[in-house]
């Protein structure tokens, strides 16, 4: 985990003072809303349906237990006792008062948490694999580079007023858990034939109104050139990205309109003029950042300790273990996913009490560290396998041990019309109903891995385009309707889903999803042919037929 030092903390505190002054000027009328809006967005403050929404950054999804308690404190003291974890590894509070925000930020600053650039037309949270640093087979911990990028992009004087928002993601594993192909810049950390560490750089990915899968702009950028190369990309985008039309302003549009070859040339021409600059990362600088990351001192532990053997007779424990526990790169340890998708609950929410309890469990069982995934679940990354039974009982008591990770009821959803002023339709009640329909764990296991993503509007914060099943809320004559897509993927084989037919009304969505699942179960070649693979093999037609036969 990265330890903030005095310099990092000073910057956060200076930012809090600045925002306090900006809020004061807004409330006194010295700043109009038009002037203030851009400033509040740069601190993650949105105006939503009922209230302000406050988005707090969790850099590359890593939290200390102290920080998680800090988030719980804000939920309790300044909000309504809960928070929502997002598809970009951040947390959102829905009921914050503007006048109290500077104090909330000051409280967060005490534990090294900030909200800089979680909104606005600037560079957002650099997201990563929530298993970074502990996944077997990982090239090296991508969070070192995420932190280098975070510092480089924070309050960058040249790139704080881009044409539109800009998102980075970075992975260091063959299986991409960070969805790099749907980001403005996606980075795949790997080593070249000479054993040098570097990045495949992909550009122009993004969802929203016009989804695009990112294209490779350069297959290998050595680590030392990462920041200068990123600066070249940002400078080309800052200067040539469209500013006349908000819907055509993302970098994916520029890449698409120029074509990847021409875009790559613009970037290369710019980069050649600035490559050997102060941005070059020499080994000493990288080591400096690496040295500020602390790692647990792992014990030598057995893979099959007695505690696990004894607990194996408990079917509930086994169901959870088989679902929520993943292999760790260190023998005798495990990565535990905490499902924030209880049956009937809003996906991705956690109460202040749950956050405090999870922080305590992290101290006891995970060296004080928690991770946030873009699937809106949490993880404890350093759990000794002998502690799994005790941990499970504790997690179950606080309601975060539903054994549905990666299954049909592990739904990713945006807040939707219940909260968001951009939404056309609600998403959370749809998710809730689906978890009830598929509450039976045996059924869910029979179905296997199946990602459902729900977005309440075309802005696609629920990432519906890349869901195995995607649900998009639209409005027809004042009523909520939903378009259904299937076949999307967010990983290294990223692809946008295909529409199966006309939009269906709110009351029928759960039935439609059941029909799709039934079609899959009937048509799959073998029990272990995943839904997403069956769709690839069969195409959309058999599912369309089944769903629309009686509609």
């Amino acid at each position: 985990m990265y330890a903030y030092d005095e310099l990092d903390r000073t910057l956060i505190n200076e930012r809090v003072s600045e925002f306090r002054d900006q809020v004061k000027r807004r409330l006194s009328g010295e700043l109009t809303e038009d002037e203030f809006k851009m400033l509040r967005l740069q601190n993650g403050v949105y105006l939503q349906l009922h209230a302000y929404m406050f988005r707090v950054a969790i850099p590359y999804g890593t939290l200390s237990s102290k920080q998680l308690r800090g988030l719980a404190h804000v939920a309790r003291r300044y909000d309504r006792g809960y928070g929502h974890f997002t598809t970009r590894q951040n947390i959102q509070y829905n009921w914050i008062k503007l006048a109290e925000l500077p104090d909330a930020l000051a409280d967060l600053a005490k534990v090294g948490i900030h909200s800089m650039q979680t909104s606005g037309n600037n560079t957002r949270n650099v997201t990563s694999d929530q298993w970074a640093g502990v996944a077997p087979g990982e090239v090296e911990d991508p969070r070192i580079w995420s932190e280098l990028l975070r510092q480089y992009t924070t309050l960058h004087p040249e790139f704080s007023f881009l044409p539109r928002k800009f998102k980075f993601a970075i992975t260091a594993s063959a299986h991409d858990r960070a969805a790099i192909k749907v980001h403005d810049i996606g980075l795949r950390l790997h080593k070249n034939a000479e054993g040098e560490t570097g990045f495949e750089v992909l550009v122009g990915g993004g969802l929203g109104r016009t989804p695009f899968i990112a294209k490779t702009i350069k297959s290998f950028v050595p680590g030392r050139d990462l920041l200068s190369y990123v600066e070249a990309i940002l400078r080309v985008y800052n200067q040539y990205g469209r500013r006349d039309n908000i819907y055509k302003a993302r970098m994916k549009i520029l890449v698409h309109e120029l074509g990847i070859e021409k875009f790559a040339k613009e970037v290369e021409d710019e980069w050649l003029q600035m490559r050997d600059s102060a941005l070059t990362l020499d080994d000493a600088v990288v080591e400096e950042i690496r040295s500020r990351f602390t790692y647990p001192v792992y014990e030598k532990l057995p893979h099959m300790p007695d505690e696990l053997k004894k607990a194996a007779h408990d079917p509930h424990f086994e169901a959870w273990r088989k679902n929520s526990v993943a292999l760790h790169k260190v023998p005798g340890y495990a990565i535990v996913t905490l499902s924030l998708k209880p049956v009937g609950g809003p996906p991705g929410d956690a109460s202040a009490e749950q956050m405090d309890a999870i922080a305590d469990l992290a101290d006891k069982y995970s060296f004080g560290e928690i991770r946030v995934g873009h699937e809106q679940n949490l993880a404890l990354p350093h759990v000794a396998r002998r502690d799994l039974p005790a941990l499970w009982r504790a997690l179950d008591r606080i309601g975060v041990a539903t054994p549905n990770v990666n299954l049909v009821s592990d739904i990713i959803a945006c807040p939707g019309l219940d909260y968001c002023s951009l939404a056309n339709a609600r998403s959370i009640p749809i998710a809730q109903e689906l978890t009830r329909r598929f509450a039976n764990h045996d059924t869910a296991n029979l179905i296997g891995r199946l990602h459902i993503n729900i977005s309440g509007c075309i802005n696609a914060c629920g990432h519906h385009h890349v869901g195995h099943i995607g649900i998009l809320g639209v409005e027809k004559n004042g009523e909520e309707f939903y378009q259904i897509t299937i076949g999307g993927r967010a990983d290294e084989n990223a692809v946008v889903g295909t529409l199966i037919g006309p939009a269906v009304p709110y009351g029928e969505v759960a039935d439609v999803i059941e029909d799709i699942v039934e079609a899959y179960l009937a048509l799959r070649e073998r029990p272990d042919e995943l839904f997403i693979d069956a769709v690839k093999r069969l195409g959309v037609e058999p599912f369309r037929e089944r769903v629309y036969a009686t509609r």
Binding site: L27, L49, Y82, K97, G345, L417, S421, E475, G478
Partner: protein, 105 residues
């Protein structure tokens, strides 16, 4: 409901009101007929023509310090004279989220 934040032309199709959020704490407020705001929908001034709506909105927008994001929204007026939200979005803003808020702890 298509975001009214994208409203450009002002054209109403039935009785309407002007609503916004209070600047300092973000709560939902409704423009009254007394050049003020109320958190209670029953205090909202009702307009029935596009001209009236435009005038009320302009007056509401002038209060940039007190209110944020003012826009025109439909209401339903009952036989009793009671004012109710005119669409799902306004229903949610006035009544709250449609999901159970409790997260099992």
């Amino acid at each position: 409901m298509t975001s009214p934040l994208e409203q450009k032309k002002i054209k109403i199709t039935g009785p309407s009101m002007v609503t916004a959020n209070r600047t300092w704490d973000g709560i939902v407020i409704y423009r009254t007929s007394r050049q003020g705001w109320s958190a209670d929908l029953s205090d909202a001034a009702i307009v029935r023509t596009s001209d009236e709506a435009r005038a009320l909105l302009t007056e509401a927008e002038a209060d940039d310090v007190g209110a944020v994001g003012a826009y025109i929204a439909p209401v339903a007026v009952k036989d009793t004279g009671a004012i109710e939200p005119g669409n799902l979005r306004e229903h949610i803003r006035s009544e709250g989220v449609t999901i159970g808020l409790s997260v099992p702890a």
